[in-house]
């Protein structure tokens, strides 16, 4: 090896070492100064708008907290349920704070954090329909918001019963409108949403019937599958929200009295 080649080699090595490391999404967010969150805003009390049309709710606050932890400004990007993942994939948002169930099927496509909230579900019916338990949904016309955990569960249940009709609507508001009009006999929605919608008076003629026998719907923050740095950060953030008492505080603010759901599954480590 000549001196020149050795010198060139050395030069190349130095250049390679000196080149800036590839910035990941976490760095991108911090340096851009903005955290863009996909939030569903027709899902009270998790996401909604106040009287002056500003986004509010549990998920909105959660995104703001995350942005504050990162030292950046939060930008709430309104995303209907079916568009959460396309919004992420097309680069319109950095993180989803959108009450997204952490199913294994979905985890093949996006990276999920540890659960940050857990929903229990209620059966809500039209007052004109005779129903007293969740099993009375058998044979009825039922519906839920397309693409949600409840919708997937309900459609499977209808298929198992082999009778009844399932209708997915585009928004939670459409589901409750259809229920209120009597187009649907019943729906399954999270207890939080059911209480908020019954109390709101926007949908006359509906009532809560029973709890739905579903495994609690654990929801996670999500981002690109390969962004380990960001996913690690999200996990620690969720952990800190709980241990600092902020989770309980947000629960009291948006959901009401009572204990927030336990985010751990006994006997399981994750």
């Amino acid at each position: 090896m000549t001196k020149t080649t050795r010198a060139l080699g050395l030069l190349a090595t130095t250049a390679a070492l000196a080149a800036p490391a590839h910035a990941d999404k976490l760095d991108d967010i911090i340096s851009s100064g903005t955290l863009r969150c996909a939030v569903v805003l027709d899902f009270p009390p998790m996401g909604m708008r106040d009287d002056s049309n500003n986004p509010i709710g549990f998920d909105v606050d959660y995104c703001n907290d995350l942005a504050a932890a990162l030292g950046v400004t939060a930008e709430i990007v309104e995303t209907p349920f079916p568009e959460r993942i396309p919004a992420l994939m097309s680069g319109r948002v950095d993180v989803g704070v959108a009450s997204t169930s952490d199913t294994l099927e979905r985890a093949k496509t996006v990276g999920m954090s540890i659960p940050y909230y857990a929903f229990e579900n209620a059966v809500v019916g039209n007052e004109g329909v005779e129903m007293s338990t969740w099993e009375d949904m058998k044979g009825k016309t039922v519906g839920a918001t397309a693409g949600t955990y409840e919708a997937i569960w309900l459609e499977k249940q209808i298929n198992e019963w082999g009778e009844g009709t399932f209708r997915p609507y585009q928004t939670q508001a459409d589901v409750f409108l259809a229920l209120s009009q009597g187009q649907l006999d019943a729906t399954v929605s999270t207890v939080e949403v059911a209480n908020a919608n019954v109390a709101s008076g926007n949908f006359p003629g509906i009532k809560i019937i029973d709890k739905a026998p579903m495994v609690p719907d654990y929801v996670a923050l999500f981002t690109m599958r390969e962004e380990y740095g960001l996913i690690n950060y999200l996990n620690l953030f969720v952990n800190q929200q709980v241990r600092t008492g902020r989770y309980a505080e947000l629960y009291a603010k948006w959901v009401g009295e009572g204990e927030p759901a336990d985010l751990t599954v006994p006997g399981i480590y994750r």
Partner: protein, 221 residues
């Protein structure tokens, strides 16, 4: 930055379900065309009848159908009628919405086609002994349908594409609805919708090519 690994196998595994959906889509489109053409012929006759009320019905229909979004027409069929206690299934709602739209556009096409047929055709028929109805049915109408044939093909394609609006009224058995359900399950948005787009493309291509073949026969004098 576009950062996505394609998993085509996952989407292809769902192809049979999507093809079942495509059948439902075709069913809606064909039904809405058959009923739409029937209605459009009636509406065209209303317009020409000289009876003011009938003419106004026809005019209003065309105005509303052509100047409001199809999405609105379908949404109204479901939730609009629903608020008056008239409950249509998603299938019936989408069929009603698209048929309403089809009838409006086709009426306008038929009126244009009629203008292209010289009055002398009807007069010649009358001189051969046809009554007014007979002259319309046996002489004018066939010529009108012939002229309006290609615009009708366009409307058929449009009807197929409009079925995708069914998701707003809870439809999930047509091609678009099936695709969206699968998307909610797997989040493989791009692959699934690309596949659906391809199926839509093939269907509409087959229809336009088929129509061209039929047209070649129809227009041979």
């Amino acid at each position: 930055m576009f950062n996505y690994t394609f998993q085509w196998k996952q989407a292809l595994a769902r192809l049979p379900q999507m093809l079942d959906g495509a059948l439902v889509t075709m069913q809606i489109a064909i039904l809405s065309m058959v009923i739409g053409i029937g209605l459009a012929i009636v509406l065209t006759m209303f317009r020409l009848s000289g009876v003011r009320v009938l003419s106004a019905v026809s005019k209003t229909w065309v105005e509303v159908a052509r100047n409001t979004p199809a999405l609105f027409q379908i949404y109204m069929a479901h939730f609009g009628l629903g608020s008056f206690g008239i409950h249509l299934s998603p299938f019936a709602s989408i069929l009603l919405g698209i048929t309403f739209n089809n009838a409006g556009y086709l009426t306008e096409n038929f009126r244009g086609a009629l203008k292209a047929i010289p009055d002398t055709q009807a007069r010649a028929a009358r001189s051969l002994g046809f009554g007014q109805g007979g002259a319309f049915r046996y002489v004018v109408l066939p010529q009108m349908l012939r002229i309006a044939f290609l615009p009708m093909t366009n409307q058929m394609v449009w009807a197929i594409l409009m079925t995708s609006l069914g998701v707003t009224v809870g439809m999930n058995s047509d091609l678009y609805g099936v695709t969206q359900d699968l998307n909610a399950l797997t989040f493989r948005t791009f692959e699934l919708f690309a596949l659906a787009a391809l199926i839509f493309y093939v269907i509409t291509k087959v229809i336009t090519l088929g129509a061209r073949l039929i047209a070649a026969r129809l227009f041979r004098y």
